[in-house]
Every structure is written in structure tokens, then in C-alpha cells.
């Protein structure tokens, strides 16, 4: 009798292409993550959590190639005094990086810490694991199991300058899996910058443990390579009176899925997550945010703005979950899209799930074209149509950019957005 034809299992096919380190402190955590991945399987088209984004190219065993985008622009944050850590196609570049030493913090690389004991041993993968309920995030579990490298940053007191991770893309077929862990001790503060396209395909997880009274600032610019794909996850846990601020700007990229999972576990904590994106043509950008309030008197804010043209697609899935007992919660969420032409689309699912009565939670979502009256006003004052459109676009994005606490970084992002918008042909 002929054997039944086995349907290929995409999860096992993917696992077969990947390699897990056989020794070191992270092995147990990686094995656990692999078990989680096998239990849920990789995301499929029909998964509710992937309703508006097709996971196909993110889960296929071999990444689609992506051309390297050549341009003459100065690198973002170049004039910021910072500690640089450079990855090229997911591989650490020691020559391009600074010495990984800075007062107040220790920086180790995931790949190099093969000793059995490390501060990250009992933390690596724990926030990711925590973030698997109520919604499974298999790509993050896959990352924990198979990450080839990443940085482990332990912040014991506030360093003098930001840490900056730069991702360069050099090979058209690169497929990178990076996993960072940031632990900010009580009372300390860190600013982390990230920029660059990373690889043809990037799967990145960053776990951030913010202790009581600590603060974490994050400004990220995802690279402009048109054909690159990225699936990123941020998992953050916030202690009492802590502050978490994350801002992401995305311009171009054929596929971007950014998940941000935040849990406020200590009273009086505050979490802000914001995103501005500008997309053209085949651009597909998905922001999926899940904020859990599990403590009293916390505040959270989600601000997402998307400018879409020439058939670009913007997706926003945001959720505020207020657990029973998380009284005095102040939750806010706004997602807006500006559609610059008839072909672009915006798909949103802004959710609230609330089990406490003394809360003020709201969300808003809008979608529409550029305001013709405002455009007319500017045109009547001699501003060209393109310039006027750019001005209105920048003002539309401003609310998200405002979420960056440091003024100098805010100005950099605004300046860059203006110049990117101006370069219409790119």
C-alpha cells in the first residue's frame, strides 16, 4: 500500500534550516522556545492575528533576496555622541563597532557568552515566553531558539551617552536572526538607538526589563531598502514608577511587521509606544501592539501614523488590556492614516479589553485623504503642490514624532523625514 503523502510542515521545514548552539547558558532557554514554537507552529494566513498581513515570506525557509539600496545620504545619528555596535547582515562587525565598554553598563554579545553562568541566563526568553499569551507569537519563539547573535545590555547606572545599534545590509540573500536583552536596574536610565536595514530578511527580538524607577528610551529607524523584510518583536516589562518610550520610523521596505508587547507590572509606570511610517508601492507595514495593565495608576499611550501612496498598505492592530484590579489606568491609543492616492489602503483593529471599572481608556482611528482646504491654503500662498503635500504630511506625522523625549533626536528624525519625502523618486 502506498504511503500517505505527508503534507509539508512549514514549521519543521523552517527549523530544519536553522542551527542551535549546543553549549552555553542559553541552551535550556532555546530548547524551551523550540518547544513553544512546535506547539503553536509558525503563523499561517488564516490566523486571526495575521488577518491583514500575509506571513508567507516571513516563514518560508529561504528568504526572498533583497537588493541593497545604494544612496548617498549621511547615516542617521552620525553626529550623535554614542557607543556604536554594528551588525552587517546579522553578523557582528568588530572593526566598525566601538569598544563595548561604557561606564554604568555592561555589554556582552549573545554569541560570545558561552560560559555557563551569565546574568542573562535566567532572563533570556522569559519576557518573550510571557508575551506568548493570550496570543501566540511563534516568530519570536523561533528567534529565541535560533538567534545567532545579539547584545545583552545590563544598565546599572545611567551612562553618559546612548547605545546605538547599526544594522547594515550588504548581501542580497542575507537572513538574520538577532536577539537582544536589555536590563535596566532600579533608578538607571538608558537611551538605545537602532537604525539600518539589517538584512534581506530580519527576525529580531528585543526583551527589555525595566526595574522600578528606571527609564528606557528607544528610537529606531528601519532601513530604507525597498525589498527588505523584517519581523521584529519588542517585549517589555515595566516595574513601579518606571518609564518606557519607544519610537519607530519606517520608510520603505516591502514587508515590515513590528510587534510590541508591553506589560506594566508595577504601580505608577508609564509606557509610550509610537510609530511613523511613510510607504510607497509594494510597501506593507504592520504595527501590532499589545499593552497589558496589571498594576494601579499606570499610563499607556500608543500613537501610530501612516502615510501611504501608490498602493501601499498600512496595518495597525493595537490592544489595551486592563486586568482586574488595575484601577486608575489611563490608556490612550490613536491610529491614523493619510492616504495620498486611490490605491493605498489602511486596515486597523484597535481593541480595548477592560476588566477594571475605575479607568479611563480611549482609542481613536481615522483614515482619509489630505485636507484639500489646507492644501489650497498653502497653494494660495505660493507653496508648490509637492511642497505643500510634504508640509501637511510632516504635520500629520508630528504627533508620533513628538513622542521622542530628546529634542535633538526628534529634530534628526523630522529632518530626515522631510528629506525623504522630498526625494520622490527613491
Amino acid at each position: 500500500m502506498a504511503e500517505a503523502v505527508q503534507k509539508p510542515n512549514p514549521t519543521e521545514e523552517m527549523i530544519a534550516t536553522l542551527e542551535m548552539p549546543s553549549a552555553g547558558w542559553s541552551v535550556a532557554a532555546r530548547q524551551n522556545a523550540l518547544t513553544r514554537l512546535r506547539a503553536t507552529g509558525l503563523p499561517q494566513r488564516r490566523d486571526e492575528y495575521w488577518k491583514y498581513t500575509r506571513p508567507d515570506t516571513l516563514i518560508q525557509p529561504v528568504a526572498e533576496p533583497a537588493a541593497v539600496f545604494e544612496n548617498d545620504e549621511a547615516q542617521l545619528f552620525d553626529d550623535v555622541d554614542r557607543l556604536k555596535i554594528v551588525f552587517v547582515d546579522g553578523t557582528f562587525d568588530a572593526d566598525a563597532s566601538d569598544d563595548l565598554a561604557l561606564d554604568g553598563i555592561t555589554i556582552d554579545r549573545l554569541e560570545q557568552t558561552d560560559a555557563d553562568l551569565h546574568w542573562a541566563r535566567d532572563l533570556y526568553g522569559t519576557l518573550e515566553q510571557n508575551g506568548q499569551t493570550p496570543v501566540a507569537r511563534p516568530l519570536a519563539a523561533l528567534n529565541t531558539a535560533f538567534a545567532s547573535d545579539g547584545v545583552l545590555i545590563h544598565v546599572t547606572s545611567t551612562p553618559s551617552k546612548p547605545v546605538s545599534i547599526i544594522y547594515r545590509h550588504a548581501s542580497t540573500t542575507s537572513d538574520a536572526i538577532l536577539h537582544h536583552f536589555v536590563k535596566v536596574d532600579s533608578g538607571a536610565e538608558l537611551t538605545l538607538l537602532e537604525n539600518g536595514p539589517a538584512a534581506a530578511r530580519l527576525n529580531k527580538v528585543m526583551e527589555i526589563d525595566v526595574a522600578d524607577d528606571a527609564a528606557f528610551h528607544h528610537v529606531r529607524a528601519q532601513g530604507r531598502d525597498h525589498e527588505r523584510r523584517a519581523a521584529t518583536h519588542i517585549f517589555a516589562r515595566l516595574g513601579a514608577r518606571s518609564l518606557f518610550k519607544s519610537f519607530t520610523v519606517t520608510v520603505n521596505g516591502v514587508m515590515t511587521r513590528n510587534d510590541c508587547i508591553i506589560e506594566l507590572t508595577g504601580d505608577d509606570a508609564s509606557a509610550h509606544v509610537a510609530g511613523a511610517c511613510v510607504g510607497d508601492g509594494a510597501f506593507h507595514h504592520d504595527d501590532t501592539v499589545f499593552v497589558t495593565h496589571d498594576a494601579v495608576n499606570c499610563e499607556s499611550r500608543q500613537v501610530f501614523k501612516k502615510v501611504l501612496r501608490n498602493g501601499a498598505t498600512g496595518v495597525f492592530q493595537g490592544k489595551i488590556l486592563v486586568k482586574a484590579g488595575a484601577q486608575k489606568t489611563d490608556g490612550y491609543q490613536i491610529s491614523q492614516s493619510l492616504l495620498l492616492d486611490e490605491d493605498s489602503q489602511f486596515l486597523a483593529k484597535p481593541e480595548l479589553e477592560i476588566y477594571a471599572d475605575d479607568v479611563a481608556c480611549s482609542h481613536g482611528s481615522t483614515s482619509g485623504a489630505i485636507d484639500e482646504e489646507a492644501l489650497f491654503y498653502l497653494r494660495a500662498r505660493g507653496v508648490s503642490k509637492n511642497e505643500a503635500t510634504d508640509l501637511l504630511t510632516l504635520s500629520f506625522l508630528a504627533e508620533a514624532v513628538e513622542e521622542i523625549a530628546q529634542e535633538s533626536l526628534r529634530d534628526q528624525i523630522n529632518g530626515r523625514l522631510a528629506s525623504w519625502l522630498g526625494r520622490r523618486s527613491d
Binding site: 486571526e48 482586574a324 484590579g325 484601577q327 492614516s337 492616504l339 495620498l340 492616492d341 486611490e342 493605498s344 489602503q345 489602511f346 486596515l347 486597523a348 483593529k349 484597535p350 481593541e351 480595548l352 479589553e353 477592560i354 476588566y355 477594571a356 471599572d357 475605575d358 479607568v359 479611563a360 481608556c361 480611549s362 482609542h363 481613536g364 482611528s365 481615522t366 483614515s367 482619509g368 485623504a369
Partner: protein, 510 residues
């Protein structure tokens, strides 16, 4: 409209006349429709088989095509699974442990007119305050005869378990060309209309419960308003579940032909029983060019007791299809009853410049669970929709708004505005919002706003300092919260709804 309170001591509030207060006080108390009528019934055997489907069809004297239609739906149903995505949780339903057809014995031979109907049945409706006499009175509220009548008439179709008892004002409606009767009568008298429209808005295989309904629907109302006719009175159907272990599967079909107008009201109650009962209805509305339909529901099925025992499972598919240009539909619902509600009255805005509106108040108290909302599918150009949803949770209840606004690429210059607000009373309940927004063209504008908050302490304090007790104060504040929706209801329903808001929240404070 002035807000009415149930204050015994303070007497009549300024600007509210005594009659109104009395009328509202009348409906006060616990679930007041929980009594049952002791009457001999004919049941189909328990369970669901093709034979039961045939039996229901035969009892309704249906033509063969409809029997076949039902049997095809039954086959489809066997292949479907119950939806699990709603935020509701209830024990598994044994679909073979139900009666799918129950008819009072006296209805075996169809009475020629309401005068011939068993007095016990008529008394049931009298007790519910539903006017089956053709007289000018307000529907829905006992004692409302005393309220100032404006000479408005309401025609009523009374459905008792699986059969329609009769329909009032049929002659007068006929003069205007309006057909208003039970769906079983329509199948006999107007088969061409039923055949043309049945299942065209909610297809047989639409979802698990709609498919089940297509197989076993027993009775419900049929409305046809011919071109250019403004229906001379409000039409109303009153559904009563009485028999034990019996599901009610009503089917309503409303057709508003070109340029016509009709306002339709729907009310429902059931006795208080320890066993949960199933209610799976389908409502289809077809609206042609320039026509307008208003559909209002006050859903007050038995909600179960405070421990979650008993109550109706209300799994309903309601959809309106604006087929012609400038067609207009307005759904208004006040959902206070049922143990579990799963209901999404939707609008397909196919015609250019067509409009859909959805106004909803959903109140869940004790162990009730409500997952309700709407879908606005914009297909035509310059279509407009508006959603106003107010969800109130108290006790240990869970209340979810779930909705979809979809702007298709061809729906140029369309517009949607959505507002959903949730109010939480007590720390053990939940309020959730799950909207889906899909915008596929840039000339349309979509706005969605949602808030969740608790009853404002300042407002409560203000009411308390004026001598109201806490429950009255909450009822007043909640009524204010719901005002936008209450105002969209026809007057008769608005009064009932306002009183219901107060009753449903009883025991939720403190």
C-alpha cells in the same frame, strides 16, 4: 425628553407628568415577564433530523421548493461548526436535546381572525401589555393607555413559540398596499415574493446559526411595502417564548420597494426558567431605490438569574441590503435581556448614496454576556454610515462591541463615523471593544472613537445630594449616557427602553 426616575419619595420631577412616572414605575421590579402561560402544546419530537425539518415544513403548509430549501440548509448545517471567536462563554449546547417546534394545541387549525384565538393566548399578550385589539394605544408599556395618545397606530404580529397567532390591522394595511403577515402566511399567499427574496441577504450557508435557522425556522414576520408607499402605521412583532426546552427560530423578511418607508418594531420576552433556551433568528431586509426602513428592537429575553442559571442564548443574524441608490436603513437596538447575546445587525451599502445607521445600547448585568455590534460594508459611491454604540457592564457581566467598517475600492467619497462608549459599574465586570476598520480608497473618510470609563463620581454625588438613592442616581446617569441612542428610538420604545435601563441595572450598585 425629560429623564424619568423611579423615586418614590420625591414624587414627580419637574417637567415629567405623573402618568409617565406611574407608567414607568409599573415596569419596575425584577424581570417581570418571567411568568409562563399554562397551555396545552403540540411538540415536534425532540432533536433535529430531516424528518423534523419536513414536519415543520408540513405544519406550515409549505410548497415543495421551500421544504427542499430547508433540507439543503440542514445538510449544510451538519458540515458547519459553531463559531467560537466571540468573547462569550457558555456550556456546550446539545442541539439534539431541544424541541424545534412547539405550537399551542388550539392553533392546530389556524383561526380565521384574532377573535377566534384561544383566550388564554390573548390573555398572555394582554398581560405583556401588547395590544392585539385594533385600537389606538401605545405598545409595550402597561398603563400607557393613560399616556397622551397621538393617534398613532401600531399593527402587531404576535408570535408565540413556533407560530404566529395573528396580525392586527391587516385590512387597513392592505388598503395601502402593504403586506404584513406571518412568514408562513406569506409563503402561502405571496410565494413569488418569498421565493424571490428569501435567503438573498443572509445566504443559507452564512454562518452556523443562520444555517440552522434556514433549516428549522418556524414563524416570523413578513413585510412588503410597495413602491412609493409610506406605511401608514408602525409595524411590530412581538415574540414570546413560552414552552420549555424549546428553541425559537423566527425568520423575518422585510422588503421596502422603491421610494417606500416603513418603521418596524420588535419586542421579545420569555419565562423565567432554570434551563437555558436557544433563540436563533434571521432577519433580512431589502431596501430598494429611495426607500427607507427603520428597524427597532427592544430585546428583553429572560437573562438568567444572578448566578447565571437559565436565560436565553440569543444568536441572531440580522442584515439589511441597501440595493438601490439612496436607500436608507436604521437599526436601533436596546439589548437588556438574554444570558448570552451574539448579534451583529449589518448594512450592505450597495446603492450609491445609500445610508446605514446603527444605534445600540447593550446592558449586561449579573452573569450576562453580550457580544454585539454591526458591520457596515460600503460598496456604492458616496455611501454613509454612522455607528453609535453604548455598552454598559455591571455585576459580573462581560460586554463586547465588535464591528466592521469596510470601505471597498469603489466606494469613493464615502463616510463613516463610529463612536462606541463603554461604562463599567462595579469592579468585577468587563467591557471590550473590537472594531475592524478596512479602508481601501482614499476619498473616503473613516473615524472611529471609543472610550471606556466608570460612572462619574461627581455626577453621582450631584444626584445623591438631591435626595436620590444610589441606584436611582446610577440609573439616571446611565440614561444620560445612553441618550444619543434612546433618542433614535420610536417614542413608544424609548419609554420602555428607558425604564429597562433602570431595571436591568437593579442590584448592580453597592
Amino acid at each position: 425628553m425629560d429623564t424619568i426616575t423611579l423615586n418614590e419619595q420625591s414624587g414627580v420631577k419637574d417637567g415629567v407628568d405623573q402618568d409617565t412616572v406611574d407608567a414607568v414605575r409599573e415596569v419596575g421590579g425584577k424581570y417581570k415577564h418571567g411568568w409562563s402561560t399554562d397551555i396545552e402544546m403540540d411538540y415536534a419530537p425532540k432533536g433535529l433530523t430531516p424528518d423534523i425539518v419536513r414536519l415543520i415544513s408540513k405544519n406550515n403548509d409549505e410548497p415543495e421548493w421551500l421544504t427542499e430549501w430547508r433540507l439543503a440548509a440542514y445538510d449544510r448545517w451538519l458540515t458547519k461548526t459553531e463559531p467560537t471567536w466571540a468573547m462569550v462563554d457558555y456550556p456546550e449546547i446539545d442541539f439534539q436535546d431541544q424541541y424545534y417546534y412547539a405550537r399551542p394545541k388550539s392553533m392546530a387549525v389556524k383561526p380565521k381572525s384574532l377573535d377566534e384565538v384561544d383566550p388564554k393566548l390573548l390573555a398572555t399578550y394582554a398581560k405583556l401589555g401588547i395590544p392585539l385589539k385594533e385600537q389606538m394605544i401605545l405598545a409595550g408599556i402597561e398603563g400607557a393607555e393613560n399616556a397622551p395618545a397621538e393617534g398613532r397606530k401600531v399593527a402587531v404580529d404576535a408570535v408565540f413559540d413556533s407560530v404566529s397567532l395573528g396580525t392586527t390591522f391587516q385590512d387597513e394595511l392592505k388598503k395601502a398596499g402593504v403586506i404584513f403577515c406571518s412568514i408562513s402566511e406569506a409563503v402561502r399567499e405571496h410565494p413569488e415574493l418569498v421565493k424571490k427574496y428569501l435567503g438573498t441577504v443572509v445566504p443559507v450557508n452564512d454562518n452556523f446559526y443562520a444555517t440552522l435557522n434556514s433549516a428549522v425556522f418556524s414563524d416570523g414576520s413578513f413585510v412588503y411595502v410597495p413602491p412609493g408607499v409610506r406605511c401608514p402605521m408602525e409595524l411590530s412583532t412581538y415574540f414570546r417564548i413560552n414552552a420549555e426546552n424549546t428553541g425559537q427560530f423566527e425568520r423575518t423578511l422585510i422588503i421596502a420597494d422603491k421610494g417606500s418607508y416603513v418603521s418596524y418594531l420588535e419586542g421579545c420576552t420569555a419565562p423565567q426558567r432554570d434551563e437555558s433556551q436557544l433563540h436563533a433568528a434571521v432577519v433580512e431586509i431589502i431596501i430598494e431605490e429611495d426607500a427607507e426602513v427603520k428597524y427597532s428592537t427592544v430585546q428583553n429575553w429572560y437573562p438568567g438569574d444572578e448566578n447565571g442559571k437559565g436565560g436565553i442564548y440569543n444568536f441572531v443574524t440580522k442584515r439589511a441590503d441597501c440595493r438601490g441608490d439612496r436607500a436608507k436603513v436604521m437599526w436601533t437596538q436596546v439589548e437588556t435581556g438574554s444570558a448570552v447575546t451574539w448579534k451583529y445587525p449589518s448594512c450592505i451599502l450597495r446603492g450609491d448614496d445609500s445610508q446605514g445607521e446603527f444605534y445600540s445600547i447593550a446592558i449586561a448585568n449579573n452573569m450576562q454576556q453580550a457580544d454585539t455590534g454591526t458591520k457596515m460594508i460600503h460598496l456604492g459611491k458616496r455611501t454613509k454610515s454612522r455607528i453609535v454604540s453604548k455598552g454598559i457592564s455591571a455585576g459580573k457581566a462581560q460586554n463586547t462591541y465588535r464591528g466592521l467598517v469596510s470601505m471597498h475600492p469603489k466606494a469613493k467619497e464615502s463616510r463613516n463615523y463610529t463612536q462606541c462608549d463603554s461604562l463599567l459599574i462595579g469592579s468585577e465586570c468587563g467591557a471590550h471593544t473590537v472594531p475592524y476598520i478596512e479602508v481601501k480608497n482614499n476619498s473616503s473618510r473613516v473615524e472611529h472613537e471609543a472610550t471606556t470609563s466608570k460612572v462619574d463620581d461627581d455626577q453621582l454625588f450631584y444626584c445623591r445630594s438631591r435626595g436620590m438613592d444610589e441606584e436611582e442616581a446610577v440609573a439616571l446617569v446611565v440614561n444620560g449616557f445612553c441618550k444619543d441612542v434612546l433618542q433614535a428610538l420610536p417614542m413608544e420604545f424609548a419609554m420602555e427602553a428607558q425604564a429597562l435601563v433602570a431595571i436591568s441595572l437593579e442590584g448592580s450598585v453597592g
